[in-house]
Amino acid sequence: MFYREAGDFKTSYPDDSQTFPIRFDRLGYYAVLLLGFVVLPFVLNDYWTNAVFIPFLIYAIAALGLNILVGYCGQLSLGTGGFMAVGAYACYKLTTAFPDINIVFHILGAGIITAGVGLLFGLPSLRIKGFYLAVATLAAQFFLVWLFNRVPWFYNYSASGQISMPERTVFGIAVTGAQVAPWAGYMVCLVFVVVLAWMARNLTRGATGRKWMAIRDMDIAAEIIGVNPLRAKLTAFAVSSFYVGIAGALFFSVYLGAVEVGEAFGIEKSFAVLFMIIIGGLGSIFGSFAGAAFMVVLPVLIKLVLVDSWGWPTDLAAHIRLMIVGALIIIFLIAEPHGMAQLWRVTKDKLRLWPFPH
C-alpha cells in the first residue's frame, strides 16, 4: 500500500542509485533523522540519555566498524575491545596534550591512530584465516590491554592508572566532564553516528566495498579476478579500526568519563560487539543499528520488568537475565541466522505486495 516503487519514476542515474530508492523508505529515513536531531534532544532525561541512547549510539559505531571487517570483508576479529581501548587512550593523550584543540578533532585523531594500530594487527590476516584469525586477534586484545595497564605514560602517571576525561566544549557547550547536559553528549554521538553511517554505506556499495565482499565470498577467487587481497584486507582492517577507535574515544570521553582499561575494554566488549552484528545481521548497515539497539535495550528492559515492576531480588533477576539473553541469542540464531536485517528485508518484500500478495 505505502511501500512500493510504483509511480516513483527515476529520471537520472543519481536518482536511480540513491541509497533509499523507494520514497517511503526515504521519508522514513528523514523522519528518523528529524526525530533524532530535533525531537529527542528535548524530550530525553538523564536516565534515557546516559543509560540507553548514548551507549546505543556508541555501540552502533563500533558495530558498524566490526561489521565492515566481519560482515563485508569476512575477517573474523575478536580484538574490538582492544581497539576501543586504543581509541580511548589516544583521545585521552591527545586531549591532555593539546587542550586547546577542539575535542572533535581529538576523537577523529583517535580514530586515525586506531586505524594505524588495526593495520598492524591486520597483517597476520594475510596468512591466517577463519577461527585461527579470530583467536589471533585475541592476541591484540590482550596485549593492548596489558600495554595500557602497564605503561604509565598512557595514563599520565596517575596514581591508580585510571584515565578521567577533563571538561571539553564544542561551540562553548560542555560535552564531556561533570557539567555536561544530557542532550549535548547525545548530540555529539549522534553527529558522529550519522556521518559515519553515511560513510560506511557509501564505502560498502562502492568499489572498495565490492572488493571486500569478493574477498569475503572467496579470497582465492577474488585474487584471480584481480582484487589485491593485501590491499582489500588491510583497508578493511584500517577502516574498521577507525570506526572502532572513534567508538572507543566516545565511550571513554562522552559516555563513561573515566575508564580502567581491563574493566571497560576487556574481552567481554569484543564479544558484545560481535553479538550485535550477528544478531543484527552480518554485512548490513541497518543490522549494526538493530543489533546495537537489541543488546543495549534488552538487558535494561529485562531489569525494569523483573526488578522494578515484579519486585524480584536483584541477584535472581541478574541470573535470569543472563539466561534470557543467552536463550534469545540461540533462538535468534536458529530462527533467523542472518539476523534482524534479514527479518527487515523479508518484511519489506512482503510490504511491497501488501495487501494483494498475488
Binding site: 538523564d46 596514581a159 528492559l301 533477576a317
Partner: protein
C-alpha cells in the same frame, strides 16, 4: 530504520508503564549498588546482605530513622562500570541520599556525576584515595581509611614486629593489576625511601587464577614479607600458592579486601596464620546481632540467603549502613525535619562524629575506630586493626589494637593528587575549610 523505531516505541511504552512504579518520595532512600553476580559476586553478596539487613533492622525496630521509613533501592551492577552508570541514573531520581558503589571503577565514574548532581558518595576503604581532601572533593567521602592508609598501616605493623627497623628487609607486593591494585605502590615507594626496606612489585592480571610464576618468583627471592592487594578469585589462589611454597603465613598480610572468609576458607587448614587488615568488627559478638536476630533473621526478613552473618564483609556492610544512617540522623537533628535532602546528608557526613558512645548506643561498641569528619578531611582517621585467620576455629582473630597510618607521609601525597585533579577539572578548592 523503521524496525528500530517500532522497538523503541514498544520499549518506551513498556518502560513508561514500568517507571511509574518508582518509590514514593516520602521515604529516606538509600540506593545499594550491589553485585551478586559476576566475577566478584562472592564478595559482593555478604556486603550487600549486611547493608540491607541493617536498614531492615532500623525499619523493624525503630520504625526507620526519626520516624521516616528507610527505603533500600538495590541495583545490580555485576561490578561492571556500564551497569553502574545505568544503576546510578536509574536511582538518582528517586531521592537517593548517598551512594556506596563498592567498586573503585564505578566510584571513579560517579565522582564527577555525583558532584554535579549534588549527591554525596561514601567509599569506605576503596575508591579514589585523594577524595579524602574535602576541599577539592566536596561531595565525596572515604572515611574511615583508604588504601594509602592501608599501606602505611602495614608498614607500621611490620616496624612494630621488627623493633622499629625494616632496614634491608625485602617486602614484596602482590597486587591485582588494575587501578585498585596499583593504589598502594606510590605510598609504599615513599615508605621504602624512609625506612630502607626493599620493595618488589609483583602484578597479577585479572582474574588471577594462575599465579604460578609469581609465586615461583617469591620462592626464589625469599622476601621477608608479602603484602597483598587482591580481589576476587585472586585471593584464595594467592593464599593457596603461598601455602604451597610454604611461605610463612604470618608474614603474609593482605589489605582489607583480601581478608574475608571467602579468601581463606577454600584453602583450608593451610591458610592458618594469614593476616589481613580490617577496619570493622569481626564476628557476631555484638549486641546489635541480638536485635538483628530478633527483628530480621527470625522474622524471615534477612536479605539474600541469610547465611552470611558475622563474616567480615557482612560486617563491613553493616558498618557502611551504620555510618550513613548515623549521618542521616544527624542531618535530621540539624535541619529539624525528618525528610532530608542529599545536600543535608552531605553536610551531616561532614560533621559526623563517631564516638564510642555512638557506637555503643547502636549496639556496636568497638565496631570501628572513633573519628570525626571535618570539612577539610573527608578521609577519617586512617585506622585499621590486623586480623589473623585461625583455621581451626574458622574465625578471624584480632591481633592488634587500632594502628594509625603515618599522616606525615600520606597527607602530602593526597594533597598533590587532589590538586592535580582540581587543576584538570577546573575546580577551585573550597575556601571555607581550614
Amino acid at each position: 530504520m523503521k524496525l528500530k523505531l517500532a522497538t523503541l516505541a514498544l520499549a518506551t511504552g513498556l518502560m513508561g508503564g514500568v517507571l511509574t512504579a518508582a518509590p514514593a518520595m516520602a521515604d529516606l532512600v538509600f540506593p545499594s549498588l550491589s553485585y551478586r553476580t559476576g566475577p566478584y559476586a562472592a564478595n559482593g553478596i555478604p556486603f550487600a546482605d549486611g547493608y540491607a539487613d541493617y536498614m531492615t533492622l532500623l525499619n523493624e525496630r525503630d520504625g526507620g530513622i526519626g520516624g521516616e521509613k528507610v527505603k533500600l533501592l538495590e541495583c545490580e551492577t555485576g561490578y561492571n562500570t556500564e551497569k553502574g552508570v545505568e544503576c546510578y541514573e536509574s536511582t538518582k531520581g528517586s531521592g537517593a541520599l548517598v551512594y556506596q558503589p563498592l567498586s573503585t571503577g564505578i566510584t571513579y565514574q560517579l565522582i564527577p556525576k555525583a558532584s554535579a548532581d549534588g549527591i554525596p558518595m561514601l567509599t569506605s576503604g576503596y575508591g579514589r584515595t585523594s577524595a579524602a581532601d574535602g576541599k577539592v572533593f566536596k561531595w565525596i567521602f572515604n572515611f574511615p581509611a583508604n588504601y594509602w592508609d592501608g599501606a602505611s598501616i602495614m608498614v607500621k605493623y611490620l616496624l612494630s614486629q621488627n623493633n622499629d627497623s625494616l632496614k634491608g628487609k625485602k617486602i614484596a607486593l602482590v597486587y591485582h593489576n588494575s587501578a585498585y591494585g596499583k593504589e598502594p605502590i606510590r605510598t609504599l615507594q615513599e615508605l621504602e625511601k624512609m625506612y630502607g626496606f626493599k620493595l618488589s612489585l609483583i602484578p597479577v592480571d585479572h582474574p588471577g587464577q594462575e599465579q604460578k610464576s609469581q609465586w615461583l618468583q617469591i620462592r626464589r627471592d625469599k622476601p621477608d614479607y608479602v603484602l597483598m592487594w587482591g580481589w576476587g578469585v585472586m585471593n584464595p589462589v594467592a593464599i593457596q600458592e603461598a601455602a604451597n611454597i610454604r611461605f610463612p603465613m604470618d608474614h603474609f598480610i593482605g589489605i582489607w579486601w583480601s581478608g574475608s572468609e571467602n579468601d581463606v576458607k577454600p584453602v583450608g587448614a593451610k591458610a592458618d596464620g594469614y593476616k589481613a587488615l580490617n577496619f570493622n568488627g569481626v564476628g557476631d559478638d555484638f549486641p546489635v546481632y541480638g536485635d538483628l536476630k530478633k527483628y530480621v533473621y527470625d522474622a524471615g526478613k534477612a536479605a539474600g540467603a541469610g547465611d552470611q552473618k558475622g563474616t567480615v564483609l557482612y560486617n563491613r556492610g553493616l558498618y557502611a549502613a551504620f555510618l550513613v544512617t548515623q549521618a542521616a540522623k544527624l542531618a535530621q537533628q540539624d535541619t529539624g525535619k525528618p525528610q532530608i535532602t542529599p545536600a543535608d546528608m552531605r553536610d551531616a557526613l561532614e560533621k559526623l562524629d563517631i564516638s564510642d558512645k555512638v557506637m555503643a548506643d547502636a549496639g556496636m561498641a568497638g565496631f570501628g575506630a572513633t573519628f570525626k569528619v571535618s570539612c577539610a578531611n573527608h578521609g577519617g582517621p586512617g585506622e585499621a586493626k590486623v586480623n589473623q585467620w585461625d583455621a581451626k576455629a574458622g574465625k578471624w582473630k584480632v591481633v592488634t589494637d587500632w594502628i594509625t597510618s603515618d599522616k606525615k607521609v600520606i597527607d602530602p601525597l593526597i594533597e598533590e593528587d587532589a590538586a592535580a585533579y582540581a587543576k584538570e577539572n577546573n575546580i577551585t578548592p573550597r575556601a571555607d575549610c581550614n
